[in-house]
Symmetry: C2
């Protein structure tokens, strides 16, 4: 997505430790008008499949999932990273490791909002090692629902997550794939798509 | 907001310990079309003031803030509950106690996204003791920005938060105010507005 690559080049900041900061439009400040374009692009890319629901994980996936869901006209569900006092009944659980925060989260999803035979599109802001996406896929499989695909705003192409999902036969659409970045020069190289 | 009260009566579940569960449309599953109506209502209520930015706090405020921001055509910023490895530069900090999760969070907001003299509208899903709203107000004041008001989806009117904000002269608009709820009968009483 050209508009996204331009935005990353303009506003993204490369930091040591393989960090790409895009918090002025994607995950601290939210450029709502821009996210609307991102949502529209996911709708275009996945317009050929049935989508009953969009699933994401708190926190930074929520805004993108909301933007996409308006075009699909479906609800969003988001998996929660901590045991909430307010979830009861059947609950699907998994563990997800975050390399960004260097910790492992228990991730839960109420059984009331994920049903057998539903067609689910996963949307998230970043894909790096793929732990979050794989955790969500495992929750969806536990519910007997179907993963129609994974839509990612920024894939870190030099990490393994995207490769692993594609090898599993999961349909993955990343709006921008960063193949290399240099914290010293600030240079960012995108994969041709 | 009539539509919201009807939705709470239809889908809300009262649990012991003063808990009102509305996680099938507001904070676990998100009814995007309904949230759009909620956003529109906030726009109507605050249409007489200047709003440069909408501020909320992760996690469940994000979806409502996004929905409102589309109508105001302004960005959203959300305060973060944990120290992120990815925030540097000037940072505003405060502490917020969550009675729901029975813990105190360090809450941070990058100084890059909150500026002197900006007019800020706070949006959140719930107001009970008011700790989250007061924390956000303190971050906004630290930045030298102006709080134009607080928009809340569901205020728990039998708790102190709303009263305290109104006594401070903060403009507070709650789309539904629950004055009483009974976990045994499931009965919910709204304040006439």
């Amino acid at each position: 997505m050209k508009l996204l690559e331009e935005r990353i080049l303009r506003d993204g900041v490369v930091k040591p430790g393989n960090v790409l900061k895009v918090d002025n439009f994607l995950n601290h400040q939210l450029d709502v008008r821009f996210l609307d374009e991102v949502g529209k692009e996911f709708y275009r890319l996945f317009s050929d499949v049935r989508v009953d629901k969009i699933m994401t994980i708190e926190t930074s996936g929520i805004a993108v999932a909301m933007a996409a869901a308006r075009y699909f006209d479906v609800p969003v569900v988001f998996a929660k990273k901590t045991q909430s006092l307010n979830i009861d009944g059947e609950v699907y659980k998994t563990k997800i490791h975050s390399f960004t925060h260097n910790r492992t989260y228990d991730v839960i999803m109420s059984g009331k909002y994920l049903h057998k035979d539903e067609h689910i599109l996963i949307i998230d802001d970043f894909l790096a090692n793929g732990c979050a996406a794989e955790g969500l896929i495992s929750l969806i499989c536990d519910a007997g629902a179907k993963v129609e695909g994974v839509g990612i705003v920024i894939e870190k192409g030099h990490q393994e997550g995207g490769k692993r999902l594609r090898e599993r036969g999961i349909r993955l659409e990343s709006l921008a794939i960063v193949d290399a970045m240099n914290a010293e020069t600030g240079e960012i190289t995108f994969r041709e798509q």
